[in-house]
């Protein structure tokens, strides 16, 4: 494959799959971080292009699997910087209480967002894949590299834990009502 053909193939892959890869990253990272992650996803995909599935849908799932790892690495580096910046902030503003909830969920009064923020990374990712990215059990299994049976079990447990967290946070209130009220 010469340089022009390579460029054409890369562009074709990009145009066919960009919408879903970008949506995946935007749901999990800030806009700037998502843009950087998407660029890295396609750069990695290009380096590993021999493994690119022929089927379009499988190719998207393969790219989402790469995106998951790129975002995880990005988060790992950001956590290091965040620790450093937190220390600088503590020094600069010693009277300011530290932010207990990095997602700002509790402050926003959103019970579900707070419960999701408290969930483990694995639970959160599973729930996002199922309810936000709208992937089937078998597609989730492909993205996470686990069996469909494991997806079912983990998803069931993740939902149970989320339900318990919601019940603990609002023992006398149905959090769904709050949302409905806000919508009115």
């Amino acid at each position: 494959m010469n340089a022009d053909e390579r460029s054409e193939r890369l562009e074709q892959l990009f145009r066919q799959t960009f919408r879903r890869v970008m949506a995946y990253c935007l749901r999990r990272a800030s806009e700037a971080a998502a843009h950087d992650a998407v660029a890295e996803v396609y750069a990695v995909a290009w380096r590993k292009r021999r493994q690119l599935p022929v089927d379009d849908e499988e190719a998207v799932l393969w790219l989402l699997g790469i995106a998951r790892r790129v975002l995880a690495n990005q988060a790992r580096s950001q956590r290091r910087w965040a620790r450093l910046l937190m220390r600088v902030a503590e020094r600069a503003e010693p009277d300011t209480p530290p932010a207990a909830d990095p997602y700002g969920a509790e402050e926003a009064g959103d019970g579900l967002a707070a419960a999701l923020a408290q969930a483990s990374d694995a639970d959160r990712e599973l729930l996002r894949l199922a309810y936000w990215d709208d992937l089937s059990r078998s597609d989730i299994a492909t993205v996470l590299g686990i069996s469909v049976g494991a997806v079912d079990t983990r998803l069931h447990r993740a939902r149970q834990r989320l339900r318990q967290r919601l019940a603990t946070a609002n023992p006398h209130q149905d959090p769904s009502k709050e949302k409905d009220h806000a919508e009115r």
Binding site: L10, E11, F14, R15, Q16, F18, R19, R20, M22, A23, L26, R27, E31, H35, V38, A39, E40, Y42, A43, W46, R47, W62, G65, I66, R68, R69, A72, N73, R76, S77, R80, W81, R83, L84, R87, V88, E90, R91, A92, L112, A113, L116, L127, A130, Y131, W132, T142, V143, L144, G145, I146, R159, L162, R163, L166, A167, D174, P175, S176, K179
Partner: protein, 246 residues
Amino acid sequence: MLSDDVLDRMLRNSDPDPGDSATDPNSPTAERILAQVRRRTRKRRRRTLIMAPVVALVVAGATAGTYAWVAGDGKGHTLDSTGLVCVGPDQGDAVVGFDPGADDPVAVCRQQWPGMFGQPVPDALTACVDSSLQGSIKVYPGGKDQCARHRADPYLGPTREQLGLSRLRADLREHFTDRTCIPHPELRKVIGELYARHGLDGWKAAHFQTADKEPEGPCADIGFIDEPERVIWLGDHKDGTPVNWP
């Protein structure tokens, strides 16, 4: 407790759907990202070409074909030498902690494999240094041919600098055992001595300040070790709490 239907509805309603315009493959943003991807993939090729005259070209014959790769020094020039990638089955790569002065990459992945991937450890694992700009250390299931298959170099051990940094980290831990407040000048002095002892030329230590140029606090710790820039950034530490050494 919430019913399944209500919980499902709540989860679906919480989707921060980015919308069609933000994910349009023909938008100016998409064009900019595509240009970035092209630059990144081009950079890698350029690096390979620069390396070619100064290193040996190794050609490996294999039944499925012939793989060629450019052999560097095989010593993982990573942005952060304290991590490596265990390349698991399917999509299951995992980044794990690593001490280049004390650990063997294969042994690290072998030990953590069942816990990370839920599968038995493969009989053979091979550590390679990939040919990306970052040059991450990656451990692949399989034998020596894995490095060539992934256009990577066999891992030959840490660089002199990585080894020096590893020893510096260990010495700092030992030197300041049980201390909960180390003044900035003292920490800088010890780091300076350790730089000299471990041959870390060109390295410096600096206080991480915001644009307001805040003064140093009474106690210091290490916030971040920036290997590409050769800087150890010092942060302000809270007196009375244990110091976490990176």
